[in-house]
């Protein structure tokens, strides 16, 4: 089995990001997973056992002092070093902002082809085939790389299951990145998640609100229904632009793509760009005053009505069932 490098993302305080398990599971589908991690000197050994439990057969620790100060260059250098010693069959990163930057720069450096935003991976003989879900799930596309090395960015949280636990073989190298062609990180403002609500990406239930909610105060109706259902909160771009809710909540083509069991759209017309981010939901519910709103074309259950009368009644009905 060929080595599959997986660039592990580490938070600013040195913890493994949540994406680790799914990325190692993706690597295990096509070969022997090698976790590649950038750490400050000496800090990496604390991560080895956990990486093994998550399925890393090998751990490649790149000790670089500049990990917290140079933007992405240390991660690119770490992978480039691992590529030259481990001759991998493919290189995986998370399809995050950082993961795509690393894939992009490494791809040019080693002459690799890039496969972006894969939702699944499999081997067919010597070929690695990636599956993508494009235009909001309207198409399923299979792709590969020919004629050179292959780098794949894997969509966060979609590959389920876990790789078998292993006791990893550890390689440690120490590197210095060239600071002259890298941006500098002045400050890391890590988002503090104050909410107890589930995050939008990967949520199994999502309640989203649109311009129809009317104001920031009245948008709290969306929060109330989300809490009654144990759902994450989403929004249309019009609701974000109007300042009802933070940009991180935007669902759609230029926002987050979600694929939950249940998606509830409140006061959202269902523009094509919004649908691109939610139309693969298992069940779609829509409440809208306008009987001709396009959201009804894809809703499993549609209510032509006012969100401010229907939703409170729905919340009361959910709560009274909970009491029984």
């Amino acid at each position: 089995m060929s080595n599959i490098l997986a660039l592990i993302e580490v938070s600013s305080n040195g913890d493994l990001r949540d994406s680790t398990s799914s990325l190692l599971a993706a690597a295990a589908r096509i070969g022997s997973p090698v976790a590649v991690v950038v750490t400050t000197p000496g800090a990496g050994s604390a991560l080895v056992e956990r990486l093994g439990n998550l399925g890393a057969a090998q751990v490649f620790l790149a000790e670089i002092d500049q990990g917290g100060t140079l933007l992405v260059a240390p991660q690119v250098d770490a992978l480039a070093a691992a590529v030259s010693t481990l001759a991998p069959g493919a290189i995986l990163t998370v399809n995050s902002v950082e993961g795509r930057d690393v894939a992009a720069r490494l791809g040019v450096r080693i002459g690799a082809g890039l496969v972006i935003d894969a939702v699944n991976l499999r081997s067919e003989g010597l070929t690695i085939v990636a599956t993508h879900s494009v235009f909001g799930g309207a198409y399923t596309v299979e792709s590969t790389v020919q004629g050179g090395p292959m780098i794949v960015t894997v969509r966060e949280g979609v590959i389920e299951g876990a790789a078998d636990a292993a006791v990893p073989v550890v390689t440690t190298v120490s590197l210095t990145s060239d600071a002259s062609n890298s941006a500098v990180i002045d400050e890391v403002i890590d988002v503090v998640v104050a909410s107890t609500r589930p995050g939008l990406r990967g949520a199994t239930r999502v309640v989203s609100g649109g311009r129809g909610l009317g104001s920031q105060e009245k948008f709290s109706l969306v929060d109330q229904l989300a809490d009654a259902l144990g759902a994450a909160v989403g929004a249309s771009r019009a609701a974000v632009d109007a300042g009802f809710v933070a940009q991180a909540c935007q669902v759609g083509q230029t926002g987050v793509t979600v694929s939950p069991q249940l998606y509830v759209a409140l006061g959202i017309s269902g523009a094509i760009q919004h649908r691109a981010g939610m139309q693969t939901a298992k069940t779609i519910v829509a409440i809208n005053k306008d009987a001709d709103a396009p959201i009804f074309d894809i809703a499993d259950f549609g209510i032509v009505g006012d969100v401010f009368t229907v939703v409170p009644q729905l919340i009361a009905a959910i709560e009274s069932r909970g009491k029984k």
């Binding site: 894809i298 009905a317 959910i318």
Partner: protein, 260 residues
């Protein structure tokens, strides 16, 4: 200061976007082409800097088919000083790697202090071309910027990541990409449209840029589509008009589907 804005022509997102099932390429005949909205915002960043700093030169640069002329003319009408169009039949179906190599070569031939791109296109959506271009040029990149602060010798901003925000800066020359957090673009006015016709417009082939695909891309991996399948369209289910009891009926529907 010379700022080059990368603009990509994409199928209008208001129409249905389709893929050619055999090549997996965008069916460009199937929809209207427009400059990507995010690239118009990138151009706005450059033009508002130019408004405040006379003597700034703004160039719009695109790689694409003949049809891209229209989009580049719009960029000139909005206020860019000149346009560069990379046009070559060998680039049809280019992957991100070929695209970035061609754009980097065009940038080198044009010269610049700052390159501004969109964070991700609305068709390919890879979000990788700007950082690839920076690696070709041996320059720093800062992608996904939510705010941009340009000064004479550096560019700074805040970059959104899934986990939080980074405050970053880089010395010029550099390559940046911006998110839709930055303001919408201005509309071209009549004077702009008239003067656009007289502005310099350069068309460059790969040969003009010193690229021979057979040599430049020898041994370089290329992303290829094996198969593209259209999913069956979703169909509408039950639709009721609220007559005072719809909230309860919806609760019943959710219970029946084991969703609560």
């Amino acid at each position: 200061m010379k700022i080059i804005v990368l603009v990509k022509q994409v199928p209008d997102t208001y129409g249905e976007r389709t893929l050619d099932p055999t090549t997996g390429w965008i069916d460009r005949a199937g929809s209207d082409a427009v400059i990507d909205e995010i690239d118009e915002r990138a151009l706005e960043v450059a033009l508002s800097y130019k408004d405040a700093h006379k003597g700034t030169e703004v160039v719009v640069l695109s790689m694409g088919s003949k049809a891209v002329t229209v989009g580049l003319r719009k960029g000139l009408a909005m206020g860019a000083d000149s346009a560069v169009h990379v046009l070559d039949a060998a680039l049809e179906g280019a992957d991100a790697g070929w695209t970035a190599a061609a754009i980097a070569a065009a940038l080198t031939s044009t010269g610049f202090d700052l390159v501004i791109a969109g964070n991700e296109s609305t068709d390919g959506g890879g979000g990788v071309v700007p950082a690839m271009v920076a690696e070709h040029l041996g320059l720093a990149h800062m992608t996904f910027l939510e705010s941009v602060d340009i000064s004479a010798d550096q560019v700074a901003g805040e970059r959104a990541t899934g986990q939080g925000t980074l405050r970053v800066h880089a010395s010029l020359p550099a390559v940046i990409s911006i998110t839709e957090n930055l303001p919408e673009a201005r509309f071209p006015n009549f004077r702009g449209i008239m003067s656009a016709k007289k502005k310099p417009f350069r068309v460059a082939s790969l040969g003009d840029l010193g690229i021979d695909p057979a040599v430049t891309f020898a041994g370089v991996g290329r992303s290829v589509v094996l198969q593209a399948t259209k999913r069956p369209a979703r169909t509408a289910g039950t639709k009721i008009v609220d007559e005072g009891n719809a909230g309860v009926e919806l609760a019943d529907f959710l219970v029946a589907g084991h969703l609560i």
